[in-house]
């Protein structure tokens, strides 16, 4: 009897192992272009917005390592920042309660794959709207205007983007638009890319590079964390942030845009902006 039970569980394990192994090892075939398979399909039946409403929870991909926008506080374990407050406000406008929300950590490298894998409903993570990205995802209206800038150690000879020349080591983050921008503006500089902003900032502090480049909004957060570093020069690009959603979810995009418009007209947007950025939005 015992033997029989054992052989049955044996078989079950073999099967599950095979399934797992086959997926892990051989999934290259039959999938073709991973991009079109995940990004292009439009699910028949219920839209994502309906699904969000029926599960009564909004799942948002945010940064956990970016001060002012999305930073996990070791003391409380909570994630806090501008993007988080926007996410909560949207949960309130879509589901009626700002606490009906789940935050998942994304990095610039992982956010689009995670969105296309349906792990998150939307990305609110300092994400610039670009034409290339529009082919992958749908964006909401602009909810924040940033511009790429430079962060250096105080007293650095680099004071603007003109000083970034051959021999300058520029630190950036994998998958961010700032990498392409700086390569275009300063093609002679060496660009080193890291997993996330924490690693890049730690690398700057460790002297692994001369300058860190990304959106000024994120750099100001780093400045707030460590006063030995400063943002220099004028922003040299426009980085309009948008909320990214899976392609074809028109109803969700509309709901998000309505939510954003309501936030702006009620003045709540300005409150959130001032709370994190320290000044009223220009315009």
């Amino acid at each position: 009897m015992r033997k029989k039970w054992m052989s049955v569980s044996f078989m079950l394990f073999v099967i599950s192992a095979l399934v797992l192994a086959a997926c892990g090892g051989g999934s290259g075939n039959g999938n073709g272009n991973g991009n079109s398979a995940a990004g292009g399909e439009s699910e028949a039946g219920a839209s994502l917005l309906d699904e969000i409403k029926s599960r009564d929870k909004l799942v948002v991909g945010v940064k956990f390592d970016t001060k002012l926008f999305g930073l996990k506080d070791p003391a409380s374990g909570e994630v806090e920042g501008f993007d988080i407050d926007i996410a909560k406000a949207l949960a309130k406008s879509i589901l009626g309660d700002e606490n009906k929300i789940e935050l998942k950590e994304v990095t610039s490298k992982t956010r689009i794959p995670m969105l296309n894998n349906n792990e998150i409903d939307m990305i609110i993570a300092t994400m610039t709207i670009t034409e290339e990205r529009r082919e992958q995802v749908d964006f909401s209206e602009v909810y924040f205007e940033a511009g790429q800038s430079l962060l250096v150690k105080k007293g650095s000879p680099i004071q603007s983007v003109e000083d970034v020349t051959s021999g300058t080591k520029v630190l950036a983050v994998k998958g961010a638009t700032s990498v392409d921008n700086i390569k275009e503006i300063a093609p002679d500089a060496t660009v080193l890319e890291f997993e996330n902003y924490q690693d890049a900032f730690s690398a700057l502090k460790a002297g692994q590079g001369d300058v860190l480049t990304t959106d000024n909004s994120i750099l100001y957060g780093m400045m707030a964390q460590d006063a030995n570093y400063e943002v220099v020069g004028e922003p040299f690009t426009d980085e309009p942030y948008g909320i990214a959603m899976k392609k074809g979810e028109t109803a969700l995009v509309e709901a998000v845009n309505e939510g954003l418009a309501a936030l702006k007209s009620s003045g709540e947007y300005n409150t959130i902006y001032e709370k994190w950025i320290g000044e009223a939005p220009s315009e």
Partner: protein
């Protein structure tokens, strides 16, 4: 089928990373054999402080992750005024880390030859070096080769850690291609193929060698 245009359009980038992966692996391998042999000798000498130093090195390094070792080199050393690039830190980390395993393998190989044989060889007129050369080492090598080839393979696979520290290796450029093309899946399939081109023949050769040694013994 994966999208081969990813491979053809980015071939130079893949190749650049592949070359650096090989370079880092070869340097780290040579270094770790050298350090590992020295530590192994430390561990079997009659001099007690050296034995302790050897044991501490092996026990400590073996029991912490490689990621941490490289992390210390990359982010920690600069606070002592030494700044090395991601490639150098990754290669050094691989070297130091793998050396602890190689030291253990070599030590175990030498210890596996009964002491009596060394004594007998010396008693029959061979010098210590001759006894080592003709009696102990030929036997030890048979035991040492399988774990050593295993460690070499591990080192090649572990070299992917350079990617986390902007070490310009295959993994690093794979990430770069993936985030530029947005074709995550296929990009990494080709990264995997590049690694397999390196590791599969080596692991086959290692197995053949092992079989040969087993037969001759």
């Amino acid at each position: 089928m994966p999208d081969f245009s990813i491979l053809t359009e980015n071939f130079d980038i893949y190749l650049h990373g592949f070359r650096n992966t090989i370079l880092a692996s070869v340097i780290a391998l040579l270094g770790s054999f050298a350090i590992g042999t020295v530590i192994a000798v430390f561990r079997i000498t009659p001099i007690r402080p050296l034995r302790w130093a050897g044991a501490m090195y092996v026990e400590f390094i073996r029991n912490i992750p490689l990621l941490l070792v490289v992390f210390v080199f990359f982010y920690g050393l600069p606070s002592l005024g030494i700044t090395l690039s991601g490639f150098v830190c990754g290669t050094l980390g691989l070297m130091i880390y793998t050396a602890s395993f190689i030291a253990e393998a070599i030590r175990a190989g030498i210890m596996s030859v009964p002491k009596g044989q060394l004594e007998a060889a010396q008693a029959s007129g061979l010098t210590y070096v001759q006894a080592m050369r003709y009696v102990v080492l030929p036997q030890a090598i048979k035991i040492v080769i399988p774990p050593l080839s295993n460690q070499s393979l591990n080192l090649i696979k572990n070299s992917s850690i350079l990617g986390v520290f902007a070490g310009l290796d295959l993994m690093y450029f794979g990430d770069q291609i993936a985030s530029r093309t947005y074709v995550t899946f296929d990009t990494y399939i080709f990264v995997a193929l590049f690694y397999l081109v390196l590791t599969l023949p080596l692991s086959y050769m290692a197995r053949q060698l092992e079989r040969k040694l087993a037969k001759s013994g």
